[in-house]
């Protein structure tokens, strides 16, 4: 036991893959066990903490009448629209902002101002301007992600080694070539990481937007379930969001490894 502790408590030291998986699984199982004990053992009231069975039941009935799929689809459409529009604009602008002082001077002060405004504080205004339809949700997600992406991507672009650009000039590249064939490819791993991180944030903004005013979507589903004290449905909504988040994150990881094999850890 002592040697076990000794081997597994050294900072930054690798542990066997099997041990890693065992620990991960154990914690997962423990969470479920504690949940089962608390709910089935009636240590906590049922309308506070639903049983796993009740959540599965809610999933089955939600899938049965199609409401679960519908709400999920609405949320996915909202988040993807807002996120994709934000990314299409933030990636080129961010790259320019990090490498061209003129662009930086033009955009950075405004960005830094907007970036510190909590998006939730803008929701009332957005409702007034845009209403409570899907456009408003997309706008909330857009504002929430765009400015953060811009700053992060500008940093990535700023971090591209100047020597890399200089060596390209000495190899005969023009400015244009350097931007297209050197600067942009050099930023790609950082850009992908930024997108992956901000996609996680987009989920937060989505739920915030839907909690305030919506008649569809997973956030609405959760809020509406609260009104009827359907804790099992609340849990279902949260778990679905968690799973979707996990799924998109893994998809991004896969995409990055596919698109940028040269930047993948061995």
């Amino acid at each position: 036991m002592a040697s076990f502790l000794d081997a597994y408590t050294a900072p930054k030291k690798d542990i066997p893959r099997r041990a890693y998986l065992t620990v991960s699984t154990l914690v997962g199982v423990m969470i479920v066990v504690v949940w089962c004990a608390l709910s089935y053992g009636e240590l906590v009231r049922g309308d506070f903490l639903p049983t796993p069975g009740a959540v599965v039941g809610a999933a089955i009935s939600g899938a049965g009448d199609g409401s679960l799929q519908e709400n999920t689809l609405v949320s996915v459409i909202e988040i993807m629209s807002g996120f994709i529009i934000a990314s299409i604009l933030s990636v080129p602008l961010g790259i320019l902002m990090g490498s061209f002082k003129v662009v930086e001077a033009a955009i950075e002060p405004v960005t830094n101002f907007v970036r510190y405004l909590p998006v939730s504080a803008l929701i009332p205004l957005l409702i007034l301007w845009i209403g409570i339809g899907i456009e408003e949700k997309i706008t909330v997600i857009f504002i929430g992600t765009f400015f953060q992406q811009l700053i992060l991507i500008a940093d990535v672009s700023r971090g591209v080694s100047k020597d890399l650009l200089d060596v390209s000039y000495t190899l005969g590249a023009t400015r244009r070539t350097v931007v297209w064939r050197v600067l942009i490819p050099a930023t790609m791993p950082g850009v992908m990481d930024t997108l992956r991180i901000t996609l996680g944030w987009a989920w937060t903004y989505l739920v915030v937007a839907e909690l305030v005013a919506a008649n569809k979507g997973l956030g609405y589903f959760i809020l509406n379930s609260m009104r009827g004290l359907f804790t099992d449905q609340i849990f279902l909504g949260i778990i679905v969001i968690g799973l979707l988040g996990l799924l998109t994150d893994q998809a991004f990881k896969l995409l990055r490894n596919r698109m940028l094999p040269w930047a993948t850890a061995t």
Binding site: S161, D163, L164, D166, V167, S168, Y169, T170, L171, G172, A173, T174, T177, R181, V182, P185, A186, M188, L260, P261, W262, A263, T266
Partner: protein, 277 residues
């Protein structure tokens, strides 16, 4: 030195200057503080197929001098000519190898070597022929499809050298290219470079703070002063070629080393005392 040396070596005098640096000064004003003269009245000629080395204490502006020749920065005064054409910006006639690793991480070894040829619009077949030749020359056959992150530091610098040579530059600029390598790898790289230079007879301007390296490689070693950087003296390295790492302990080598070391040490002390380094 200077005129006297040229007179004493009539064979060298026959060759015209390939690179001419004439009265070059470089000044800049930091955001805070007084204007700085980094380089002052630098003049030197590099003749065709010569291997010239610049050594100097750190902060003396040797890297700036190389970047001036590359056209990456502009001199405040004076001018630089390569083959009687004034240098006004960077160009493929002056290939450069940097101290930092500057391979394009998203390109394979072969694609890296072909980068300059590709931006020049050379057809694929021809590009492949050239890259194959230089990859072979730097001893990296079998690594064509590797990405830079799969290579060691020495291998990366070999690719960087092959990439610069593939463009067939009139002048090869090297800014402490082996500075980040361990000493064994550095020796091997020096021998490789000597070998390639002997075969290709390129004109080289090489920067280092390693005195052994400067003597081993150079036909001439220029010693720079502490800031403001000037050319303090030119030392003719009359060791026979081809050179070999074994020469490092020969009496002739040691004498040259002693001379250059003293010369640099004076400058280092001066710059240390003035708080520049």
């Amino acid at each position: 030195m200077g005129d006297g040396d040229v007179m004493a070596a009539p064979a060298a005098a026959l060759k015209p200057a390939k690179l001419r640096i004439a009265d070059v000064a470089l000044r800049f004003t930091p955001r805070r503080g007084a204007p700085v003269t980094a380089l002052d009245r630098i003049s030197l000629d590099v003749r065709d197929q010569e291997f010239s080395v610049i050594v100097g204490p750190s902060g003396c502006g040797k890297t700036s001098l190389l970047r001036l020749v590359a056209g990456l920065i502009e001199p405040s005064e004076g001018a630089i000519w390569l083959d009687d054409k004034r240098v006004t910006g960077p160009g493929r006639d002056r290939g450069m190898v940097f101290q930092s690793y500057t391979l394009f991480p998203w390109l394979t070894v072969q694609q890296n070597v072909e980068f300059g040829l590709k931006v020049a619009g050379m057809p694929l077949r021809q590009r492949h022929d050239i890259s194959r030749r230089f990859i072979l020359q730097v001893g990296l056959e079998g690594f064509e499809e590797h990405y830079p992150r799969q290579l060691s530091g020495g291998m990366m610098q070999r690719v960087a050298l092959a990439r610069a040579l593939a463009n067939d530059p009139a002048l090869l600029l090297m800014d402490e290219p082996f500075g980040a390598l361990d000493s064994q790898t550095r020796s091997l790289m020096q021998e490789l470079l000597l070998d390639i230079w002997q075969q290709s007879s390129k004109t080289v301007l090489f920067i280092t703070h390693d005195i052994d390296e400067s003597i081993l490689l150079g036909d001439h070693v220029y010693v720079m002063t502490a800031r403001p950087g000037r050319i303090k003296e030119m030392v003719e390295i009359d060791l026979p070629r081809p050179r070999h790492v074994d020469m490092l302990t020969s009496p002739a080598f040691m004498a040259l080393k002693r001379h250059i070391m003293r010369s640099i040490h004076e400058e280092a002390v001066r710059s240390f005392a003035s708080g520049e380094a």
